[in-house]
């Protein structure tokens, strides 16, 4: 039995709040766009913004974790989290380099 005494404040609650309110926000924006399309207003760009928010949410969650690991001086996990962020960045760069005009 080893109780850990040196530990950063638990980031779980912060992550839970971020994901909960982030989902509400992204759903709200997407819903607004869908509703606009239904009543005949051009809503595609608003829906696209909602979709982009959904995709950004896990990346934000990684950034919050990175911050928590830095505060906790947990440098091994800081490196691990940075590797994940860099991998996602690489995927984005690949996506951009093959980009074509937004489909409708």
């Amino acid at each position: 039995m080893s109780k850990e005494t040196v530990k950063a404040p638990q980031p779980e609650w912060l992550l839970a709040a971020l994901l909960r309110y982030g989902t509400w926000l992204a759903s709200g924006v997407t819903g607004l766009g869908v509703a606009m399309s239904l009543v005949g207003v051009e809503g595609t760009q608003v829906i696209a913004a909602g979709v982009a928010l959904f995709i950004a949410l896990p990346v934000l969650r990684l950034l919050v974790m990175l911050g928590a690991f830095i505060l906790g001086r947990d440098y091994r996990l800081v490196i691990v989290t940075t590797v994940v962020l860099v991998t996602i960045l690489a995927a984005l760069v690949i996506g951009l380099s093959f980009s074509k005009p937004l489909a409708h």
Partner: protein, 285 residues
């Protein structure tokens, strides 16, 4: 696109997600077959929409698990190094793989899911109190504890390198097919890492969002995600997963489970036929 079609997409995704949620399954596995076979949407558009809905469901359902202390966030981020690398590989392959093979691969994953559902997932025997892999799991302080019936249960993470390798495959399939790959993550977490079932479910769900963000981000920037399809599908899936979790207790019995096995097998056959049809029928991109 006809705006009424958006409403239809919303309703169909809500239904698929609620049904999936009732059995504790991710909805992604139903979204692509439904969109391609019943609504005749191009499979790449369907995959793009599905991967966004996978993120939405993961983020939308993560909070209660986090608050309950069931998610091992340290382990999650360690495993995400290989799931995102797998997703990156999938993004590169997605542009090259012919559509017919995507259908056939999807059929295989559906069949695997049916088999897994039939086998019923049980608590792994002798779940992890021994400390054989001190190397990585120890250095990264991945061993933890979770609350169960008012007590804290300690557990250790086993065979991390094997788990990470399996997670690479899960990330790859997730990016290629637009699914959460729970069907591949669950064996990795139960068998290789030997996590307690509650921790494994919560951590797997938490990880799916980041894995899918890598591929969804690339597809979005590449222009493969059609907002008019992806938006209503994501919205329907979030609402459906919340509803599905509520009726989980009420209907989860042997008969619904068997019904789902039949549905999965039927979808697998249909997807395989579409795949071979494309293969034989020549170019139909």
């Amino acid at each position: 696109m006809d705006p009424g079609f958006g409403l239809w997409l919303f309703a169909v995704s809500l239904g698929a997600s609620a049904l999936g949620g009732m059995l504790g399954m991710a909805s992604g596995i139903f979204i692509v077959p439904i969109l391609t076979m019943f609504l005749h949407i191009d499979i790449r558009t369907a995959i793009g929409a599905s991967i966004v809905s996978v993120i939405a469901c993961s983020c939308g359902s993560a909070s209660p698990f986090l608050e309950a202390g069931l998610v091992n966030i340290r382990l999650a981020v360690v495993l995400e190094t290989t799931t995102t690398l797998g997703a990156l590989t999938g993004v590169l392959l997605a542009g090259i793989i012919p559509t017919a093979y995507l259908f056939i691969l999807f059929a295989l994953i559906l069949a695997l899911s049916a088999q897994q559902m039939l086998a019923r997932r049980g608590e792994t025997a002798g779940a992890a109190t021994t400390a054989d892999t001190w190397g990585w799991a120890g250095a990264l302080r991945l061993d933890a504890s979770y609350p169960d019936r008012g007590q804290r249960v300690e557990y250790r993470v086993q065979r991390l390198p094997l788990g990470m390798l399996l997670m690479y495959g899960a990330g790859l399939i997730s990016a290629l097919l637009g699914i959460g790959s729970g069907v591949l993550k669950i064996p990795a977490m139960d068998t290789a890492l030997r996590l307690p079932i509650k921790v494994s479910s919560a951590t797997s769900n938490f990880m799916i969002g980041v894995t899918a963000a890598a591929s969804a981000g690339a597809y979005f920037l590449r222009g493969d995600i059609v907002p008019a399809v992806a938006g209503p599908v994501a919205l329907g899936s979030v609402v459906g997963s919340l509803l599905g979790a509520r009726i989980l207790m009420a209907v989860s019995n042997e008969r619904t489970r068997l019904l789902f096995v039949v549905v999965l097998v039927a979808l697998a056959l249909q997807m395989a036929l579409s795949g071979f049809g494309l293969e034989l029928g020549g170019p139909s991109e």
